[in-house]
């Protein structure tokens, strides 16, 4: 049975984060009960076969015309914390359109919907754990957390890995966004870990005359090193 590391302190945001108002009535107040990893935790859903269509990774071809906005590609690898790539794993994404509006009944931001953009995509990683999406850069948008609150542009990512303990839902941001400092959702992440959510512009990934390319690698919980490997790490 594979053994996974415990959660790394200093990685994830706290559940109680007053700057993000919606945590107030939703965070547990009792301490979490430790659950040692057994079979249900080290296995997990291996999904995707038959769930991903040929063009699901391309959010710009889901309608009759092309969506408005800055066309981009987002590429990266899904890795485990022990450095192994995670091949064949389902990656799901969703995002606002270029004007900062989600195709969702609950989004009341008065920016236009784009008839050529739904905002959802999925793919399976390849043998080296790589994923690639084609989309448009999402816009920033206002929300009601505090007066004049704005979310920096982001793409939501959902990942499974190979084990229940590796499940992760997160958000990818774009480099140098001046809204970072004002966003309690990004600021909820411990400072040292925050930059891990920011993609980087990679000129080698851009498609000349067509689209800018952003790179973002995602690291899921890794397996325990053997005692021997730990010794190597210490040297």
């Amino acid at each position: 049975m594979p053994a996974y590391r415990p959660e790394d302190p200093g990685t994830h945001p706290p559940l109680d984060f007053p700057g993000y108002r919606s945590t107030r009535l939703r965070h547990p107040q009792q301490p979490l009960v430790p659950l040692p990893h057994r079979l249900t935790e080290v296995t997990g859903p291996l999904l995707g076969e038959g769930r991903v269509a040929e063009t699901d990774h391309d959010l710009t071809v889901q309608h009759a015309g092309e969506p408005l906005g800055e066309r981009i590609t987002v590429t990266g690898r899904v890795l485990a914390g022990d450095g192994r790539p995670v091949p064949g794993t389902l990656v799901e994404v969703w995002q606002a359109n270029a004007g900062g509006r989600y195709r969702h009944d609950g989004d009341h931001h008065p920016a236009p919907l784009d008839p050529n953009f739904s905002g959802g995509g999925r793919c399976l990683t390849d043998a080296e754990g790589r994923f690639r999406f084609v989309t448009v850069k999402p816009g920033a948008y206002p929300w009601k957390n505090h007066p004049n609150a704005w979310r920096p542009a982001h793409i939501h990512f959902s990942l499974f890995g190979r084990a229940f303990v590796q499940r992760l839902i997160t958000q990818m941001y774009f480099p140098g966004d001046p809204l970072f400092a004002y966003d309690p959702i990004l600021q909820s992440v411990p400072e040292a870990a925050r930059e891990r959510l920011v993609s980087r512009l990679d000129m080698d990934l851009t498609t000349p005359e067509w689209a800018l390319g952003y790179r973002w690698d995602i690291v899921l919980r890794g397996r325990q090193a053997t005692p021997l490997e730990d010794e190597d790490d210490d040297r």
Partner: protein, 186 residues
């Protein structure tokens, strides 16, 4: 080698753009012999329903096997998916249709009572919450289960056991408050 892990972020209120599947709540299709409906409400600290949560479940098949190659007893051959996904509705309700899992051997000795692992994602949850659903007709197995045994207060322990509700099982998830569901650190 140790790479720094990617932090979690909230699923936000608009995940329906990308995540729900038409067959997400159907761990097994309607009409499957032995299928049971398991569901309930997600409730916040003001006792209001949480209408924008996503509940996911993961479990073994009735023989106690997982659809996964790392199961040392060999992967499930039944074709059982083991995974359920359901967004809450306007009343905060979720439900999945599944088969009751078998008990699981604990490596090194002992047995885990039949259970589902359950994750809750929602706006306002910066990381998922993890809990377990146990079965009310397994009093003996539940008494010997190592996780349940680790919870000293019987009233708190009982919150991890679903309750019979008509033909199905009810499992409410209280995020906060006097009836707070025990959530698990994994």
């Amino acid at each position: 080698m140790r790479l720094p892990e990617t932090p979690s972020q909230t699923i936000g209120p608009f995940f329906a753009v990308g995540l729900p599947w038409p067959d997400g709540p159907d761990v097994v299709p309607a009409g499957t012999p032995g299928a049971v409906l398991i569901g309930g409400q997600v409730i916040d600290g003001a006792d209001d329903p949480v209408t924008d949560a996503l509940v996911e479940t993961w479990q073994a098949d009735p023989d106690g096997r997982f659809a996964h190659p790392d199961d040392p007893s060999g992967p499930a051959t039944s074709g059982f998916r083991g995974f359920g996904r359901c967004a809450t509705d306007a009343e905060g309700r979720w439900a999945i249709r599944t088969l009751k899992p078998g008990p699981l051997p604990v490596p090194g000795g002992g047995v885990e009572a039949p259970h589902l692992n359950l994750s809750v994602f929602a706006r306002g949850l910066l990381n998922r919450l993890v809990t377990r659903v146990y079965f009310p007709d397994e009093a003996g197995a539940n008494a010997a289960d190592p996780l349940l045994a680790s919870i000293a207060d019987p009233a708190v322990r009982a919150r991890l056991v679903a309750v019979a509700d008509g033909d199905g099982l009810r499992f409410d998830i209280h995020l906060q408050g006097t009836l707070e569901t025990p959530f698990l650190a994994i």
